[in-house]
Amino acid sequence: MSTIDRPGVVGTTHRDAVTKPLFWTKSRSTRIGDAVTYMIIAVMSIVILFPVFWMLSTSLKENSEVFLFPPRWVPKELLWENYPKALTFLPFGLYFRNTAIVTAMCVVGQLLSSPLVAFAFARLHARGRDALFLLVLATMMLPAQVTMIPLFMLFKVAGLVDTFVPLILPNFFGGAFFIFLLRQFFLTISPELADAAKIDGCGYFQTYSRIYLPLSKPALATVAIFTFMWTWNDFMGPLIYLNREQNWTLTLGLSRFRGIYGTTPWNLLMAASLVTVLPLIVLFFFAQRYFIQGIVITGVKG
């Protein structure tokens, strides 16, 4: 084992602390390199975090203070009442509820369908399986815009435009990306477990639900989190399918906020934006490793 240990792939915090060499045991040139590295990374971190800070700062300012030049970094007085003001000007509670319903249903749909399909591709033998799996992968390459117009017509003919159905329903038939991710994960589970279950009299579905699902909680969490993130942020879907304001989602409401107000009330707009992204930020901090895991397993950036 080398003296300088390399950190593992994910979740290395505790290993860092144990195996990283202490600062003063490193050579001089390494120390200078480290110092420069820290400086560059620190400056970049500030640049990266600044927009989020600026969103918060602007959201707490008085309207005249927003347009001060030079800008005031921290508001003189923290105007928390901007938040109720921003959220009651438009029915944000309603948008929030709509977004939550659509997102929750999409997550449920993906969790019901994708793992089952992925299990079949990973563990059941059948003629045509590999060709079908290639087809699954091929659909990942297809740009959504190719099917967008006929899908719209389909839902229009079915009388489902201006409902949540077009946004939710497709999730109940498995997503190619998640099927791929879960299949990769299932393949890492020892097939002997499935064989043992079979001997104990478990059917295929029981093997799936009693052995594979409980062992795959991290992968299922990754699926849930990505579905959550994509649905919550989705703009084009709601824009195409939702008309009446009572059906609008947060992104749709937010995009109309500016037009309604005339001159842009940046403080209120930033308050509303922050409330919109807050669930994602909170989720990210609690479930960070599942985000990272999803990216690393599939190579897709989320």
Binding site: S2, I4, P7, V9, K20, G33, D34, M44, S45, I48, P51, W54, M55, P70, P71, S113, L116, V117, F121, L124, H125, A126, V136, L142, P143, Q145, V146, T147, M148, I149, P150, F152, M153, F172, F173, G174, F205, Y208, M229, N233, D234, F235, M236, L239, I240, S255, M270, L274, V277, I281, F284, F285, F291, I292, I295, V296, G299, V300, K301, G302
Partner: protein, 303 residues
């Protein structure tokens, strides 16, 4: 005799397994036929018709395609998208690779920095578009203030300038490179330490090791990033719709924005379908070209 019964029994089990397989994947097959295969064929058909939703589609042959080739806005949208793709893919790869290499230097607190760099990728969409409209505001935006304060430069009008609107969006895309950083970092941490130790014994310094070991080993990820980056550029919609609505003077008329307008603003469904198919063909050709040339510069470990 005993053997024969066992054989047929195996056959029954295999058949049962096969039936279960198709039963389990039936949701996907149903979804594929209804939401992918069917619409693909419908879209191909629409692209050869005049279709305004109100009246049934009318066959016009390749009229939509020839129409598009003569459509200035179509070429403009291609130009905008290509410019953005070139800028965001190239700068995105350079920046994320640079940060990943820095983060990989055995320093403490890597996971904290990784969290910071990944955070913006979580919050894409409308809220971020609004945030950058504010930051890039020409009169009260914080970017122009910093430019003035540090360099005494009068910043451009960014999103309101025909010249600067695409660079602005490229700049904004750099905020979301956290995903690539995580990918590069994972790959970097998978490089065996022995390679570096051997090179060090041979007298190779840090830069030499970076150029001769690290970068070649990173080429598969760089290649992957190029591919997804180009595809991603053809999907840009929210920013363009919310921030500039294609302006000023169509300088940010992204491909999908123009497609969206044709389909859902002007109800030219046939025309928009043809646009979607041309985009699909462009992406297919680009992918093939990238794959063909990749053997010359992408390093795959033997085996």
């Amino acid at each position: 005799m005993a053997l024969a019964t066992r054989k047929s029994k195996m056959g029954t089990m295999a058949r049962q397994e096969e039936r279960t397989f198709y039963l389990f994947i039936s949701p996907w097959i149903f979804g594929f036929l209804l939401f992918t295969a069917g619409p693909i064929m419908a879209s191909l058909f629409f692209s050869f018709t005049f279709y305004d939703v109100v009246t049934p589609p009318r066959w016009i042959g390749i009229g939509n395609y020839t129409g598009l080739l003569a459509d200035e806005l179509f070429w403009q949208s291609l130009k905008v998208t290509a410019l953005y793709a070139a800028g965001s893919v190239f700068l995105g790869i350079a920046a994320s690779l640079f940060i990943a290499i820095l983060l990989n230097r055995n320093i403490r607190g890597v996971s904290i920095f990784r969290t910071i760099f990944y955070l913006p990728s979580v919050i894409s969409g409308v809220a971020v578009s609004l945030l950058f409209m504010w930051i890039l505001n020409s009169d009260f935006g914080v970017v122009n203030f910093v430019l003035w304060k540090l360099f005494r430069i009068q910043g451009p009008t960014w999103l309101m300038s025909q010249t600067w609107v695409i660079p602005s969006m490229v700049f904004m895309s750099l905020w979301g490179i956290g995903g690539s950083i995580v990918l590069y970092l994972a790959r970097l941490q998978g490089i065996p330490t022995e390679l570096f130790e051997a090179a060090e014994i041979d007298g190779a310094n840090y830069w030499r090791r970076l150029r001769s070991i690290t970068l070649p080993l990173m080429t598969p990820v760089i290649f992957f990033n190029m591919l997804t980056g180009v595809i991603g550029s053809f999907q840009v919609f929210t920013q363009a719709y919310v921030m500039t609505n294609g302006g000023p003077n169509n300088a940010s008329l992204f491909y999908i924005l123009y497609l969206y307008r044709n389909a859902f603003r002007y109800w030219r469904m046939g025309y928009a379908s043809a646009q979607a198919w041309i985009m699909f063909l462009i992406l297919l050709v680009l992918t093939v070209i990238l794959l063909r040339t990749s053997s010359r510069w992408v390093y795959y470990e033997a085996g």
